[in-house]
């Protein structure tokens, strides 16, 4: 697979502060690439540089071989951008917003009309096509913003928190659309706060913290990186608190979760044996016993330190 995005030593300074600190990475054709990080980590600044909205202090960005600074028109022609907050024109109708985007990207009138009809139908907005956007709900605006980004049939689609604050139905529709687009060959660069969303959709994720890339890999590979540790979740027939448990040397952390206890361990097998022994010795029965592998959220929290996701 060829790289469609290549980022080399990218840096953005705001006065003395490096919002993005010499990061390098590549995105392959056909990937769904997730970009995760806590607030202020440099996610949005990076996306704005990749899409040519702001200029980097130093470094190079290549979009399908075109430098975003050297050849901005050709690079921007190939991408679609969905910002975190809708930037559709409130005083225009949904239809006119789409037509304006088509004209800005040089899409011919006949193709633009067909594509606008198709996208409005897909996003359940066709009946409201002649209504001014200012009357739309947040979900409708977000769907329209995505439709606007698709009017030029982009090779790469950048989405910044596309499901943030949306109802379940709209969020599902947008995730379904992302999968369909990706299946059709569109590369997707997704910034999200939702770990589960990144886990479900992304073939690779980069975790950025304090302006630097902390890790970059496939979600499952990242999970194995945090040392083969697993959670053992157990519940007993009668309540047991954390302090009731015997000393378990292989357990690194114990926490309670409702009527269950979760034990963080690098030896799940021996931990389970000790729990069974404990149940027998205290005349209890085990109601549930599960092993939980680390989630992407665990990886995120471990790599970003304070775990302020969002």
């Amino acid at each position: 697979m060829k790289n469609v995005i290549e980022v080399t030593e990218l840096r953005k300074n705001y006065n003395a502060l490096a919002a993005v600190d010499s990061i390098s990475f590549e995105v392959e054709e056909g990937e769904v690439f997730g970009f995760l990080g806590p607030n202020g980590a440099g996610k949005t600044t990076t996306v704005r540089m990749l899409t040519g909205i702001i200029k980097p202090t130093s470094g190079r960005i290549s979009i399908m071989g075109f430098g975003i600074e050297q050849d901005p028109i050709k690079a921007k022609q190939l991408i679609g951008v969905v910002p975190e907050l809708s930037n559709a024109y409130n005083e225009l109708s949904a239809w006119n917003n789409l037509q304006f985007m088509a004209e800005l990207y040089g899409v011919s009138g006949r193709v633009a009309r067909g594509r606008a009809e198709e996208l409005l139908t897909k996003f359940d907005l066709y009946d409201r096509r002649d209504t001014k956007v200012k009357t739309f709900s947040k979900g409708m605006k977000q769907k329209l913003t995505i439709a606007m980004a698709l009017m030029n049939d982009p090779e790469i689609l950048f989405l910044d928190e596309p499901t943030s604050g949306l109802d379940v139905r709209s969020a599902r529709l947008i995730k379904k659309m992302m999968r369909e687009l990706n299946n059709a060959g569109t590369t997707i660069f997704l910034t999200t706060h939702y770990m589960e969303e990144a886990n479900q959709l992304c073939s690779r994720v980069a975790i950025i913290n304090h302006g630097r890339i902390a890790a970059i890999d496939a979600p499952e590979k990242l999970k194995t990186r945090i040392g083969g540790l697993e959670w053992v979740e157990v519940s007993f027939s009668t309540p047991v608190t954390v302090s009731d448990l015997p000393d378990l040397p292989q357990v690194l952390e114990v926490r309670s979760s409702g009527d269950k206890l979760q034990l963080y361990t690098d030896e799940p097998g021996s931990t389970i044996s000790r729990l069974v022994d404990y149940a027998r010795s205290t005349d209890r029965t085990i109601v549930t016993l599960n092993t939980l592998t680390p989630t992407l959220e665990d990886v995120f929290i471990k790599l970003t330190g304070d775990g302020r996701a969002g």
């Binding site: 702001i54 901005p72 028109i73 910002p83 005083e91 304006f100 985007m101 004209e103 800005l104």
Partner: protein, 252 residues
């Protein structure tokens, strides 16, 4: 840039102009303000003065073109900064020159449309246009020139519309008094005549006088008027592009 790229960008500038017209110009209050503002200002200064109607109409014409062409262009950038629409434009495959050209085109069309009001008003008072082609060329050139001037006002990297309007008014009003609208340039003192040379409004007003009142009415020759407006247009457009290139990153 290749010829194909230039024509591509021109088409995109037209798309921006169409968007501007739909959102900012086709509004009742904008049209009414564009007509009434210069008319009332003009009447306030001219009432009771014994001046020929064709002289008055030419002055009104210059002022109307000036007000109409500089009315909306200055506020598009701050409004779109606030509404984040500018970010949409910044991510699109268009240059800053294309965006500004789009804004200018919309403003030019609005200025040309509004310029028919004083012409019709003049006709109602029996004032005929002696040199229609010269007048048409002057109107087109002046609307381009003033629209580009309007863009300079909006180059300040602010999203506060009132700040831009204040800057705009601070420049526009003094210009009216040194451009031969109320007092013929020939009647101005020497310092006034010197000042008038630096106002683009002087040249369109002079051109209107020539067009409405006949061959001897102009203070400058037609070629000087058209040449000066062209020079001002080039200066204003170049300055607007440079200033917006500098201020755009601060808006985003």
């Amino acid at each position: 840039m290749m010829a194909h790229d230039i024509s591509d960008q021109m088409r995109r500038a037209c798309a921006i102009a169409k968007k501007d017209i739909r959102i900012y110009y086709l509004l009742g209050p904008v049209i009414i303000f564009g007509i009434l503002s210069p008319t009332f200002l003009f009447l306030a200064f001219m009432m009771g003065k014994d001046l020929p109607v064709d002289f008055l109409i030419a002055g009104l014409m210059g002022m109307t073109i000036f007000f109409a062409s500089t009315s909306v262009a200055p506020v598009i950038a701050p409004i779109e900064t606030q509404s984040r629409n500018l970010e949409r434009i910044a991510a699109a495959p268009v240059t800053i020159t294309t965006v500004l050209l789009g804004d200018v085109l919309a403003s030019v069309l609005f200025g040309i449309l509004i310029s028919f009001v004083p012409i019709l008003l003049g006709m109602a008072f029996g004032v005929m246009v002696a040199h229609p082609l010269t007048l048409a060329a002057g109107i087109v050139l002046a609307t381009f020139c003033f629209s580009a001037m309007g863009l300079i006002f909006s180059a300040a990297p602010t999203s506060i519309t009132s700040s831009v309007m204040m800057i705009s008014m601070m420049v526009k009003f003094p210009l009216i008094f040194v451009s031969g609208i109320f007092i013929p340039i020939s009647d101005l003192p020497s310092w006034g005549r010197a000042l008038a040379m630096f106002s683009p409004l002087t040249y369109i007003t002079d051109l209107c006088r020539y067009s409405f009142q006949g061959t001897d009415a102009g203070y400058y020759s037609v070629s000087v008027d058209l040449g000066a407006l062209t020079v001002f247009l080039v200066i204003f457009m170049t300055a607007a592009i440079k200033l917006h290139e500098r201020s755009l990153p601060e808006r985003l």
